[in-house]
Amino acid sequence: MNIIGKPRRRVDGRAKVTGQTRFADDLTLPRMLWCRLLRSHLPHARVDGVDTAAAAAARGVKLVLTGADFPIPYGILPVSQDEHALAQERVRFVGDPVAAVIATSEEAAQAAVQLLAPRYTPLTTISDAHDALATPAPQLHTYAEVGNLHKRVGFEFGDVDASFASAPHVFDDSFFYQGNTHLPIEQHATLAAVDGDGKLTVWSSTQTPHYLHRALAKALAMPAAHIRVIATPNGGGFGGKSDPFHHEIVVAGAALRTGRPVKICLSREEVFYCHRGRHPVDMRLRTATDACGKILAMDLETLLDGGAYGSYGVASTFYTGALQTVTYEIPRYRFRGARAFTNKPPCGPKRGHGTPQPRFAQEVQLDKIAVALGRNPADLRLEQLCKPNSLTANYMRVGTIGLGRCIDAVVEGSRFRERWGKLPRGRGLGIACSSYLCGAGLPIYWNKLPHSGVQLKLDRSGGVTAFCGATEIGQGSDDVLAGLVAEVLGIDPFDIRVVTGDTDLGPVDLGSYSSRVTLMMGNAALEAAGRARELIASAVAAELQLPVARLGFAERRVFDLEEPTRGLSFADAVIAAETRHGTLGTVGSYRPPDSAARYKGGGVGPSPAYSYSAAVIEVEVCPDTGWLDVTQVWIGHDIGRSLNPASVRGQVEGSVYMGLGEALMEESAFRRLPPKRSDALVHKFPSLLEYKSPTTREMPPCTTYLIEDPDPQGPLGAKEVGQGPLLPIMPAVANAVFDAVGVRVDEVPITPEKIVRALEEAARGRPARVGPTGFPDVGWPEPLRVAPPWEGGDGKAANETPRRPRPDKDAKDKQVPR
């Protein structure tokens, strides 16, 4: 291969270092108006009305909008269409948008927002998931499954209780994983304009232009064919720009009403209110093992604090259980999860979507098991890795697994066997592993359409243009597209013009989420490029009077493999092909293979392939103050194949960075004011100063090992890298702290205060840990019972009931979310 596998400048690199990349807020149009939003200052209230007269009369104001202007609900999942562009009868968190002012300048819009007079009747404040369990009324949403529990799910694969009853060892631990947020440096921005022909164009910093397209069509009651969404390159996403957002729909509606372009750029504080970040999760994990620590059965309960709206939350809930099985062999497995509604910004998908929390629990518990049974934690893991090309207890189809080699690499690099458990007090090593999916096996809304499409245009100039709906969010998807097409056609990635993220110009790609783009767009690109290559090859073969099989494509030439000087330039080859076949264009598309899981809810978790990571982390802990420094990271990632190793390494290091932030300091913390004095529940510090994101001063050296074991499902064998390498970081830090000072922090983040508290507990002769001591009573319903493959199961549940009708949903939206 000429392009693939060698580190190289990515195709969008030059624009990014010259300041030429046009992010959403960099766009302006003639006659453009500005929008600002009034957001609720109450956590939970009935909206009795908004007096808009003074604002409408203010200088420069062109339009004031309220909930009455946007009566149609939307939401990312068909099962939770619970959002409106502006509040209807209710506000549900501080920051919930209530009204909008559109004016000739941002200053004028902001000044007029101050003149809006909303009238509210306060309602009970629900602070967290425990509060939601204790406070079934008033319901935040009437469609909640019960009280303020949005959703409960449960599965049992084999007779878990029987395994526990006969197991030599049972480990029972409770954990809490605090919420945190994506914090892309770019603040969300959107520009909407009505085109000359009356159609609507929306430029937005979105990871999911296709889903935004659908939401706009629904919420604005407009034909989708009259809406064009252009996802501008995102200044970081990490999952935070994956939902359709209020402000996007508001400025689109405002542009339609004023006939003028309308822009909004959120303040940093408003970005914290958009959120959709990591759910805070309470967990109880029970694991039965044999005498050596091999897992016999696992029983997991999770309770998610979902915030005020559905977002991806139902999928997040499933994800707290679905991927527990694809790393280690788990013969029997029970998972029960629930998500609560609370009066806080909605949680959703952040890098690792729903899986870092249970991964933390599992990897910390494995460390405890190793210590309790006198085993080396690396060996304990190596002995029970999932087998390649196998089905798990919950019917996930695992393909290649490079995890063993990842573990070997980090263990050797860190000299883990020689040093673990043997460092002086205050220094420690921890190990943890993980896996992640390469795209969800099913789309968010049920259909049998391709998940990604790529279209190529070739013309007599020798130029190649690649069109795809995929969105460049910094991960390098444009470069993956150009690199794969260039490899197949034997040209340079910089010869290709890439047109992405535009719903008018490119075929649908579902978006930059769930680590799906490299695999799905990549396979579509290979198909389109392969078809183009066939067209060119047949024309060149005719011209050179050679069999097609003797043609090579490289270095911008199509040539005889046996006599390489004989051939055509790529441009001449395209001319030959256009002469022979007429105007040249090819398409490719990709749809994942069908899942083996046939039970309800089994749509969350299946993926064409799984990536694997292992990390060892070294820490230094001050035994007096609990101060914690991470001094070195070793990480191995099973990438399948590196398409551009410079980009892959960057994704691994970036995941390590973000994981360290979560492990050590990042926290979506809220303040409930004293209930006797106030109903207030506010984000404690919605700012880049007080929400602590690690600086250069916190990033330790990191040694990265890329493990290549090409997966047949991936394009040229490639698997994902954007999310998986984040997952082992948090548990590896926790395990290293234990090695350093002998205490367990069963919570994230792992702060010096908690380490000190655990040390004090130990000094008093109590268990040397901090963390939850139990798990609340959720009132679990009967789980779906599915026999594992090795117990004669066929992927179906034995006790599945017909799907419950949802009167508030129209028929086609009645699908299980994916």
Partner: protein
């Protein structure tokens, strides 16, 4: 996030600035580097009618010997100050404090005078107008905007309290007080000089004894034989201190003949710790431990900054011990992981 409109005056001299300040009344605001004032204006903590820029006032940019002291103009930028050769070993505490304020970019603009006059800070106060509305505002800014005197409103840090508990988070003040600095305030009426410690009041709302018509012109900084400044913050950049320990000692042989220790960010003012117990004997482990106990008792952190208050109190002890051991001459390598966080202890 945009600033509201205001009138603008670029002062040309100290006298001109003082005149403009006197004429501007209570809604006139001085702009040094602007790195704290501009965000506060954007968040509508202040809504000034007039901004008086001090950038062109040449007198404020001076840095020169003055007798046995160093006279440093209030307009000297913190980055330049930390790198200035005229700050000798006798001014180590100041050099370190100035060098760890906020971030390098901010130190290129922020001034010494601005850091010394830094408004007291609080997680309930350093928020946008909209955020503060959600808690029905607080005592320091009961109608959204900061007031100098109580006019109702709750201090959410201590809801039963009649006073405001916002925190003094200047890095330079503890260091300069430890060095025995004095400060000169200038107004249209004249000028006065006072010990820097006397510039501060233990009150989150009126945290300075500076009159509204006075501006801080310069500080005179004596040298100390040995001094240091230790800063606690979650990250090695950006963050305000949640604890600062400044210490300066004079030694005769190994016997302490003079000592000043000042705690920052654990009260509404820099807290001067009485040092009698250290005098007349060497900095032995026992003396240091007893003194650290005393300092820890005087630290009154509250739940309005980063980190839990109990932990900040605990670290106060560790920091006082570490700072004094550093002054005693202990090898920094032996002072542990916390000491390594002191940027100044790491040779760049």
């Amino acid at each position: 996030m945009r600033a509201p409109s205001f009138r603008w005056h670029a002062a040309t001299s100290l006298a001109d600035a003082a005149r403009a300040l006197a004429a501007g009344g209570p809604r006139a605001l001085l702009l040094g580097g602007g790195t704290d004032v501009v965000p506060a204006i954007k968040r509508r903590q202040y809504v000034p009618e007039l901004l008086i820029s001090l950038r062109q006032v040449a007198e404020l940019g001076r840095l020169e010997p003055h007798g046995a002291s160093l006279r440093i103009g209030a307009g000297v930028r913190l980055g330049a100050l930390a790198a200035d050769d005229r700050l000798g070993v006798g001014h180590t505490a100041l050099r370190r404090a100035a060098g760890v304020v906020a971030s390098p970019h901010i130190r290129n603009v922020a001034t010494l005078g601005g850091n010394l006059c830094l408004d007291t800070r609080c997680n309930y106060y350093n928020q946008s107008l909209e955020w503060r509305r959600a808690v029905d505002y607080c005592m320091k800014a009961p109608a959204g905007v900061a007031l100098a005197a109580p006019a109702g409103g709750t201090c959410w840090v201590a809801p039963g309290s009649p006073r405001c508990w916002a925190v003094s988070q200047t890095d330079c003040a503890p260091a300069l007080i430890a060095l025995g600095a004095s400060v000169t305030l200038v107004s249209a009426e004249g000028q006065r000089t006072l010990p820097l410690a006397d510039l501060y009041r233990d009150d989150g709302m009126t945290w300075l004894t500076r009159r509204p018509d006075e501006l801080l012109a310069w500080v005179d900084v004596p040298a100390a034989a040995r001094s240091t400044y230790w800063k606690l913050r979650r990250r090695g950049s950006f963050d305000f201190p949640v604890l600062g320990v400044a210490a300066a000692v004079e030694l005769a042989g190994d016997v302490v003949t003079a000592a000043r220790v000042v705690l920052g960010a654990v009260a509404s003012h820099p807290v001067v710790v009485p040092t009698e117990s250290l005098l007349g004997r060497p900095l032995g482990d026992d003396a240091i431990a007893a003194f650290a106990e005393l300092a820890t008792r005087l630290a009154k952190p509250l739940d309005n900054t980063d980190y839990q208050l109990g932990w900040r109190k605990r670290v106060t002890r560790a920091y006082v011990v570490g700072a004094l051991r550093e002054l005693r001459g202990d090898d920094p390598a032996l002072l542990g992981v916390l000491a390594r966080r002191q940027a100044a202890l790491i040779p760049a």
